[in-house]
Symmetry: C2
Subunit: 262 residues, 2 copies
DNA sequence: AAACGTATGTCCAACTATTGAAACAATAGC
DNA sequence: GCTATTGTTTCAATAGTTGGACATACGTTT
């Protein structure tokens, strides 16, 4: 849970303002100034001004009656643009639907953000109408299927940098807890072209994951099918590997076409 | 088209950085530094540093091979949070589906952002699977149905401020082109509880719109049904008013429950 | 009703980051 | 190989930021 803390003190005013924005957005309800203050690393005056700036800029909104802060509409506007242009979600949607229909298990589409896994799209096992709002969570890279699938295919320099950012917290007995061990695992993942989460993040939860690679070999994202050992043993899940790889490739192709429509 | 220009020069570094972010996001493809420079009000060095800061912060991303800028994943992450918590879209979804089924015309859900209309959700007349990505556009407030519906119910002070921000560009012969005329129109809208767009924005396009008001009377958003005069005369569309108002009320109720789930 | 506490907003001199013209480096084009 | 274009760095002048201390608003207690 405490895996994906932000880098700490950001340099410059812009960095601070964005951290303050993160702080407000990380809360899952409107928050008052006094609630934010102890959560922030800044003195009162500074936080006050930061929030005021963000409000003036439309990135935050204050409920007039309660004085609580929520994300602003300018952010919502940027949201659409960012989601449409920088996430694989809109491209992958039809492929996820198809895959979902075939496997009937929970599916995740993720992208790598500074060593962490950002889930950009999800299909639940049951519900046929999954929504944007279900995605958006961030998870650890070192102990999830998609995380390992993506990390494995990063160029050496970037992979090294990404491994530095891992928390290596032992969530379960299976969790990989050092960069060295992880490198060995990643080599295997690279070789097989598929990654497994063998209850490394949550007990009883397993998954198969494939990387989504651009034609030039760049990591675009990751795709995974998750289930519980109670429902399906890992060996069974492993049989989905070819289908997963195939879907990942189709998404990659569509992504390549997509980049320059003009 | 040139209706919704941002305020111009924003004060402070944060303001500039956010404007730069807007600038990149406004482009509908990855953009190079040299393309952005003429679009920005800043000298080369400044823009360069702003972009670099945003990249370092994860709000922007540079394609390694082309050096083009796109929205970054940190923004995508904030996006989810903002969309889920500050837009009516997730709450309104089921109601829009229901309304869409009943009327079979294009439906818009919008919110007011500094006098402008931000479309946060949309249902097309034909396609049964409308997506998040179709929303996110910004339109003028003074000559759209949702715009007038929302403006009409703003408290005096805010309404005045909002009217100052209107461009009053005469898109068609029907467009209202002054704050005075608009105030008269808004009074009528307030009285009737419904607003019409009588080809004020685009020739041949008409719509009925209802405001979405909180229990305390605050403007939360607007809801509209749009069609073309070729398909349906305005009088016919007007018969949908009760249904629209009803849907708007249901959304408002759900929104009220939503605010504090804890 | 006055005194208190808490939450929020404001001020300003010391301090730092930001600015942008101009010089420099790296590419792409010819 | 030379020139034009695009991208990157530098540095003194400038402008914005900092945060402790002070002020105000509001609800609560004595």
């Amino acid at each position: 849970m405490d895996d994906h803390l932000r880098t700490g003190r950001s340099e410059g005013t812009v960095g601070k303002a964005l951290d303050a924005l993160d702080l407000v957005c990380a809360q899952d309800r409107p928050v008052r100034f006094s609630e934010l203050l102890p959560l922030s690393p800044w003195p009162k005056g500074t936080l006050y001004r930061l929030l005021q700036t963000l409000v003036k800029q439309g990135m935050l909104h204050v409920e007039p009656e309660t004085g609580s802060y929520t994300p602003g509409l300018r952010l919502v506007q940027l949201a659409h643009s960012a989601w449409r242009k920088s996430s694989l979600a809109p491209i992958a949607r039809p492929h996820l639907d198809a895959l979902s229909g075939k496997v009937g298990e929970t599916i995740h589409l993720a992208q790598l953000d500074r060593g962490q896994v950002l889930y950009v799209e999800k299909r639940n096992a049951r519900h046929p109408l999954p929504m944007f709002s279900e995605a958006g969570k961030v998870g650890p890279g070192y102990c999830t299927g998609v995380g390992k699938a993506m990390l494995a295919h990063l160029p050496d320099r970037e992979r090294c940098a990404a491994l530095q950012l891992q928390a290596f917290h032992p969530h379960t007995a299976q969790t990989i807890t050092s960069a060295e061990e992880l490198e060995i695992e990643l080599a295997k993942v690279r070789e097989e072209g598929i990654a497994f989460d063998r209850e490394e993040h949550e007990p009883g939860i397993v998954c198969v994951a494939a990387p989504i690679l651009s034609p030039t070999g760049r990591v675009l994202g990751g795709l995974s099918v998750t289930t519980s050992t109670a429902r399906r043993p890992l060996e069974d899940l492993a049989t989905l590997a070819p289908l997963l790889r195939e879907t990942a490739e189709m998404i990659a192709e569509d992504a390549a076409d997509w980049q320059f429509p003009g």
